[in-house]
């Protein structure tokens, strides 16, 4: 991977403005889409009223639909997309592996263990409301898997070498997958198998303001955190030895960023399940546009990931009448053709 500064400073600035405009426009369109029809004018009235522009004849139903159901869900999509795509970019550079994605350290399969324990076995968590148990269990499962992977990967020296880490991640993921399958097959009742599968494929349905704000917070923290490491990540592109000779504390950087990406990813998985493909592919789509310098690559990945997820989620809840399409299927459906096109043009791979 060579460092390519694809554009000059002004070019990047224009691209950033354009990207943000597309993101805001996508969110605005998504706000108008739902199974109950709310005209654009009424959507704007709801937003204006909430911004303090008077009552504007907004009905309770309109406010519930636009402000309480759709907006948090859309913000959640933005946050999850941003976290997954920027985490993917970080991990691909850190491990110098094009196949690295945010679930590298077992967080999705670990979260699956927590989720299936709640969905199938009905494991409760003391003092938590029914709706909060699943995210809590998924997050706990993700942390446990992360700890296991780090333990295995750092055994015999804490250098957290990429190939050891990837291998440990694969091993732990398989163990978690085995648990999930056994529980579903042996204890699944009613539509448990379907509910577990649906959780696995990810969904932003049911996000309310509380969880959406947690996700947005995680995304902001992630971006600020990752950007602070942008120059060190640039150095990693030349390989471990070069990075070391450039004065980068290799081991410490690996630990901080691997744990950091895993924590924010685990947060998204807790609320939205393991939405695949975004973290793997978006960085590849963005590099030809903005180059490989992380100061540009990370925010660009975040915006592109956010746009992809907003559209995938809008399609998920509106493509088929009376049925949600799994969002994981749609991220692939939208992303794969773009990736194939870029590969054919030899700008990727």
């Amino acid at each position: 991977m060579s460092l390519r500064g694809a554009r000059g400073r002004t070019g990047l600035g224009l691209l950033a403005l354009g990207g943000l405009a597309v993101l805001v426009g996508s969110c605005a369109i998504a706000l108008g889409v739902g199974s109950v029809d709310v005209p654009v004018a009424r959507v704007l009235a709801v937003l204006a009223r909430r911004a303090g522009a008077g009552e504007l004849d907004v009905t309770l139903l309109e406010d519930q639909l636009v402000w309480q159901l759709r907006l948090p869900r859309i913000l959640g999509a933005v946050a999850v997309g941003a976290v997954l795509a920027s985490s993917g970019a970080v991990l691909q550079s850190l491990t110098r592996n094009d196949l690295a994605d945010p679930f590298l350290l077992g967080v999705s399969s670990g979260a699956g263990v927590g989720a299936v324990s709640v969905i199938v076995l009905g494991v409760g968590v003391g003092g938590l409301a029914a709706g909060a148990v699943l995210p809590a269990a998924a997050f706990a499962g993700a942390l446990a898997a992360l700890a296991a992977v780090l333990l295995v990967a750092s055994a015999g020296g804490g250098a957290l070498r990429p190939h050891r880490t990837v291998l440990a991640g694969v091993a732990v993921a398989h163990l978690c997958g085995a648990y999930t399958s056994v529980v579903v097959i042996m204890h699944g009742q009613g539509d448990a198998a379907r509910r577990v599968l649906a959780w696995t494929l990810g969904s932003l349905a049911g996000l309310r303001w509380g969880s959406a704000l947690v996700l947005v917070g995680a995304a902001v923290v992630a971006l600020v955190w990752f950007l602070a490491y942008a120059e060190r990540l640039d150095a990693f592109a030349f390989g471990e030895t070069s990075a070391r000779s450039l004065g980068v504390p290799v081991t410490a950087t690996r630990w901080v960023l691997m744990v950091g990406t895993a924590l924010v990813t685990a947060t998204t998985v807790a609320y939205a399940g393991a939405i695949g493909f975004v973290g793997l592919v978006v960085p590849h789509l963005v590099r030809p546009l903005v180059g490989s310098r992380h100061r540009a690559l990370l925010p660009a990945s975040a915006v592109a990931g956010a746009v992809l997820l907003v559209w995938a989620d809008t399609a998920a809840r509106s493509l088929v009448d009376g049925q949600e399409v799994p969002i994981g299927a749609l991220t692939a459906l939208i992303g794969v053709p773009v990736l194939v096109w870029l590969m054919a043009r030899r700008t990727v791979g």
Partner: protein
């Protein structure tokens, strides 16, 4: 019924193989031989079969394209799935049962004693050996998964070893063979089963009783003027009773309006947006072992948006057991229970 039928199997679909059929027969022979050698004929029957006029036999009944001719009244019937067990209990023919298996929740109190007098072969599906050990002369099941090789074996295999079998038409593997849910279709199944068991008059009696009950419910019209949400489960998006199944029949029987009555199928995925827009007068919470009504209620009351629904604020709930919401003999009881609960809510439509 499509959703339920597809999801019921907890066993992986195993392709039917020749050897397993042969093994099944050999095992049958072994069990029989072992019984003969030890001079043991199994536990004594709790009661001899009731008198049946032999001129009613042979009887031929057909479901899901499988024709079965019964030459003499079966006295060792095994029922698989709760629905099938309840049909036999409702007919008052429990003393012809050799075993039952696979309850989803519990049989109604009035049949508990009769149910307890028959051995339950297994909590879920029995293994093929457990089934053979019960020495059935007739196997009656609600779902096609009961006739997988690992459970009872195919209906043709059973016929080849002299065991009659009947699959509920609602559980036919081919969707085109399934009747539309109606009380008429339920009574047709009951009549088939009663005839095969040698007591067609029991079906007539049951049908007359249920028709009277339904007539009372219809004239009582406890749900007149009420918009009802039939919530089967699912928090991210609600699984609801749709327009063509058990839930709709129950709501029709009490004169209530199903807010998702225009969706096709027995159950369907609705959307919370539509629920908010409809703002139902009453919410039916389906109580299933895998998804309790109390948990559903807790979710509604803790959700920041759904807690604003009129039915939630005024605590207008009705609870219906899942097993009384599928097309079967308990559907009328489900309607009666709902009518009673609506009456207690004391709403004027």
């Amino acid at each position: 019924m499509i959703r339920r039928t597809v999801l019921r199997p907890t066993l992986p679909t195993v392709p039917s193989t020749g050897p397993s059929t042969a093994r099944l027969r050999r095992l049958g022979g072994l069990v029989l031989a072992a019984g003969l050698l030890s001079g043991c004929t199994g536990a004594p029957a709790t009661g001899s079969a009731p008198p049946t006029s032999s001129d009613r036999f042979p009887v031929t009944v057909t479901s899901c394209g499988h024709e079965v001719t019964v030459d003499e009244p079966p006295s060792e019937v095994v029922t698989l799935n709760q629905g099938a067990t309840e049909v036999v209990l409702a007919l008052g023919l429990a003393d012809q049962l050799a075993g039952t298996a696979y309850l989803d929740d519990a049989v109604p109190e009035e049949w508990q004693a009769a149910y307890d007098a028959v051995p339950a072969l297994s909590a879920e599906y029995p293994t093929n050996e457990q089934l053979l050990a019960a020495r059935p002369d007739f196997v009656y099941a609600s779902y096609a998964s009961a006739f997988e090789p690992a459970v009872a074996g195919t209906q043709d295999d059973l016929a080849a070893s002299g065991v009659g079998s009947y699959l509920s038409p609602f559980g036919c593997p081919e969707a085109t063979d399934r009747p539309e849910a109606s009380f008429e279709a339920v009574w047709d199944e009951v009549t088939d089963v009663a005839s095969a068991l040698g007591h067609p008059e029991a079906a007539e009696r049951l049908r007359d009783e249920q028709e009277d009950q339904l007539a009372d419910l219809r004239s009582g019209a406890a749900g007149e003027g009420l918009d009802v949400l039939w919530w089967d489960g699912g928090t991210k998006s609600p699984n609801v009773g749709a327009g063509d199944g058990g839930p709709q029949l129950v709501l029709d029987a009490v004169g209530a309006t199903n807010v998702f009555g225009d969706l096709p199928g027995s159950w369907a995925e609705g959307s919370w947006e539509d629920v908010l827009a409809a703002d139902p007068d009453v919410i039916v919470l389906v109580d299933a072992v895998w998804d309790r009504a109390a948990d559903k209620r807790a979710y509604l009351e803790s959700d920041p948006v759904l807690s604003g629904l009129t039915a939630v604020r005024e605590q207008r709930y009705a609870v219906v057991p899942f097993s009384a919401s599928t097309a079967g003999v308990r559907l009328v009881d489900g309607a009666a229970s709902l009518a009673g609960q609506l009456g207690e809510l004391g709403l004027d439509g």
